[in-house]
Amino acid sequence: MTDTTLSARDGAVLTLTINRPDALNALNPPTMRALRNGIDAAGRDPEVGAVILTGSGRAFCAGADLKDVSSRLDAADTDVGNDLRANYVPLTRAIRSCPKPVIAALNGTAAGAGLSLALACDLRIAVAGAQLIVAFVRVGLVPDAGSLYFLTRMLGLSKATELAMTGDPLSVEDAQQLGLIAAVVPADQLMPAALERAHRLAGGPRRTYALIKRGLVRALDLDLEQVMELEAQLQTLAARTPDAQEAIRAFIEKRKPVFRA
């Protein structure tokens, strides 16, 4: 892990903190590589049950580092698409394909690709007063790093269009009304609330979470018949796990299940 990204373990919960507060945690290639490596490693680490992604300072993440982009445009290195393919896409993919739940703890504003990052997570909680900004259009660019996908599917085409075309900020309070944010908390409650949720998830049936996440990722692109077939496949796998067998036994015996974790 580099100094652009901090990594801290609390029991089975890994917290990754984007640590470029002076740049409002803007994303540059080394930061994205560090995040991706951290998430991939957490996915493989049997000691880790859930991941929290947050930022240091007053912003969660301001998106692409425009100074970086600008210098490259000046150098006529204009293929921003390849930059996305090499850096942003693998990061979004790493979060979506991580078998552990990934919680975004929005300590401040998430803008542009920083919002994409938050939307790629499985759950978002935010400090009161923070904003979500689909900022790309403000600098003449289109939403990227998965934002067009996440916004249309999470909000529907109408609201997604409004946000993407205006670039107007959405308060996390309004975002909670729209279902984008699970909870809005006072600033000093953010990490305790995120950790509380993360620990609860880390203590649950882990293989089942991985199967649920896979199902949710694929369900967005399938029709009802395909989803029901997918569910049958996933359920076959889930029912075979020791955690499911224990939980079913515990239900019948009217006691709390003890998951292997």
């Binding site: 896979r214 199902g215 694929r218 496949q233 996933l234």
Partner: protein, 257 residues
């Protein structure tokens, strides 16, 4: 069947062959191809086995040929060795073979999957022919079978660029039968294998032969061949049993005669 690089198992009427070289992502050296073909041939001769299943592990179905075995080889050595004779025996297998693919199916691994009659893939599966990146081209049918399954432009993209396609894309382009949740590929392949195993074996065998014939000949010759096999099945006990069972609304009991 004591093999070094493949495992064999019989589950009911299904013979399972598992490529087992996890330390090299199931790279296909000559011995592995030889063993897996021999295992399939043995199942092919076994009357208790009615369908076969070929699989790898979660990380890789088979991640290509063993490059270390080819790096220093010249044209004459490769010609003399004639590894492809082993692959050719695969084509002569008469019972259906289903590939259950998870992870990498690259190069020879992809060609191996495409030689199977049905392909079930985990959503994690990647199919590709990366040979061009190391100065060669597919040698076990990749250029031919991609073209026949997915069409010319898809085949060109696969073999000219060498980047793999995801299972969902492979399914869409007709390269494979279906995509299932990661970890469910063996269950689904077994489900299909058991359906095939419940069908009359002679009809299954001739149906496979007829479809494969379509790849070889023009339409008229293919139709002619199909009709001959169709007539032939009217001479079987299973045809009589199958039709009687249908009329009596009960499942058929097939003997393979």
């Amino acid at each position: 069947m004591p093999f070094e690089f493949v495992l064999t198992e019989v589950r009911g009427p299904v013979g399972i062959v598992t490529i087992n070289r996890p330390q090299v992502r199931n790279a296909l050296n000559h011995q592995t191809i030889g063993e897996l073909v021999e295992a399939l041939e043995t199942f092919d001769r076994d009357d208790a086995v009615r369908c076969m299943l070929l699989t790898g592990d979660d990380q890789a179905f088979a991640a290509g040929a063993d490059i270390s075995q080819m790096a220093d080889a010249g044209a004459v050595e490769v010609l003399d060795d004639d590894n492809f004779a082993r692959w050719a025996r695969f084509k002569a297998i008469r019972k259906p073979v289903i590939a259950a693919v998870s992870g990498y199916a690259l190069g020879g691994g992809c060609e191996l999957a495409l030689m199977c009659d049905l392909v079930v893939a985990s959503e994690t599966a990647l199919f590709g022919q990366p040979e061009v990146k190391i100065g060669i081209i597919p040698g076990a049918g990749g250029t031919q079978r991609w073209t026949r399954s997915a069409g010319k432009v898809r085949a060109m993209e696969a073999v000219l660029i060498g980047e793999p396609v995801r299972a969902v894309d492979a399914e869409r382009m007709g390269l494979i039968n279906r995509v299932v949740a990661a970890g469910a590929q063996l269950d689904e392949a077994l489900r299909l294998a058991n359906l095939i195993a419940a069908r009359p074996p002679l009809a299954v065998r001739l149906a496979k032969e007829a479809v494969n014939h379509a790849m070889e000949v023009g339409l008229d010759a293919g139709l002619d061949f199909e009709r001959k096999l169709f007539y032939l099945l009217f001479a079987t006990e299973d045809k009589r049993e199958g039709m009687r069972a249908f009329l009596e609304k009960r499942p058929g009991r097939f003997s393979g005669r």
